[in-house]
Symmetry: none
Subunit: 133 residues, 4 copies
Amino acid sequence: MTSLAFMFGPISPAAPGPLYEQIVAAVKREVAANRLNPGDALPSLRSLAAELMVSLITVKRAYEELEKDGVIYSRQGLGAFVADAGGERLREQNIEAAQAALRAGMAAGRAAGLDDAGLLDMLNHILKEGIDG
Amino acid sequence: MTSLAFMFGPISPAAPGPLYEQIVAAVKREVAANRLNPGDALPSLRSLAAELMVSLITVKRAYEELEKDGVIYSRQGLGAFVADAGGERLREQNIEAAQAALRAGMAAGRAAGLDDAGLLDMLNHILKEGIDG
Amino acid sequence: MTSLAFMFGPISPAAPGPLYEQIVAAVKREVAANRLNPGDALPSLRSLAAELMVSLITVKRAYEELEKDGVIYSRQGLGAFVADAGGERLREQNIEAAQAALRAGMAAGRAAGLDDAGLLDMLNHILKEGIDG
Amino acid sequence: MTSLAFMFGPISPAAPGPLYEQIVAAVKREVAANRLNPGDALPSLRSLAAELMVSLITVKRAYEELEKDGVIYSRQGLGAFVADAGGERLREQNIEAAQAALRAGMAAGRAAGLDDAGLLDMLNHILKEGIDG
DNA sequence: GTGGTCTAGACCACC
DNA sequence: GTGGTCTAGACCACA
């Protein structure tokens, strides 16, 4: 397998959140987008650490969190690989995250005096303009 | 002025987020709900610290953040008061928070493979069942 | 609160399993035995590391795993505490572990040619003699 | 001798435990089931490594562990064979493993607050539903 | 003072 | 070569 580091985008200590969370998010993004599939090997701890110019331990911590989330698995002497149910797990987690965020948005909107119609309007508005709009 | 601390609900280290943020959120909630109105005095630093059983510096930091957000203002020797435009400021902030949360929910939902219709379904579902449903 | 380290028993690199797992097991044992109750403070990372003569990071890793398992929670600036549902979580985990171990025992027993009666005999035998018998 | 590798089932890095332990377990399983009998020849190191798509050294380590356990013996230039007392050794080991697992299950069950009756109930429940139930 | 994050470097087990 | 564990030490945010 050739280098996968190009997928990981910019990892920066200036970005919000711990470095290892940025790596976790990058891997999850790739798995969710099916650019990393079950059985695919991830970059080795040492190679990814070198490419991202972060400590080996920072990458290891990211891989540990990914393994805890059931997205990847690690084998001594072999490397780290995308778990068979990795995509499934991610999808469930994302659904839950989406619901939690929508609930939070509703709570904030109601605190601002919006009713249900106003909230739907807001969501429709965002949908039309795109997430970045 | 009688004690306002009863409004602040449970401030607990077990809750997510720093203690001072919990206090900030509690004050904002009271202002948004018009239970605290422009000109109303907030509890003194020391009395609130005592009632919530947190350190004085923690309450001070919360009041500083509230003042920075334009929700309250402090006068040396007099205490802290709800700002005239406190409700307005809050409303704007809540709208922004709602938009940000909805965008985050959409991003997570899309990562899970949901389309726009699916997202609207999810929001409608949540609206019908209530925020806690 | 006085020192809790006396509860943790011997932590030794010679013992089987990682040091941090020994700490995890010790805390879980204390919680399961109700010698540590919801809300109780655990020893600080630094103090426990000093008392057990292990690295701060080793203790931190143990506390991270305990937090992941829902047994404790940590708050910056305050310390680590037994979670409200800590005992519940542990009980569920122990039930699952017990079932898994019994299944494994049955599988091994059957591979040795034992039938169901033989397995029950074996368990009764062990129960009478005690776990250490 | 025809290939025996078909007996070894899936050897996968995704499975729990080192690869060589999976091979050891597979051979022990075949011997315990009398599908491999005393004097039977095992596949050569190289042929088994090729069929399982693992390294030769991994198979070698598995055979070494099996020889250490008295289940097989190796003769230079001839290959590896099931030991005369292989089945007996295995039976003893399985009995010990079963006892150890049952003790572990009891310990976990007691930590969860179960008494002896509860443990017997659990075992009976598992026996009725089958190991996979 | 507390925990949260990151670093550099070591030794071990597995392949 | 790989990941798994442990160490010593730094800096930051929170109380």
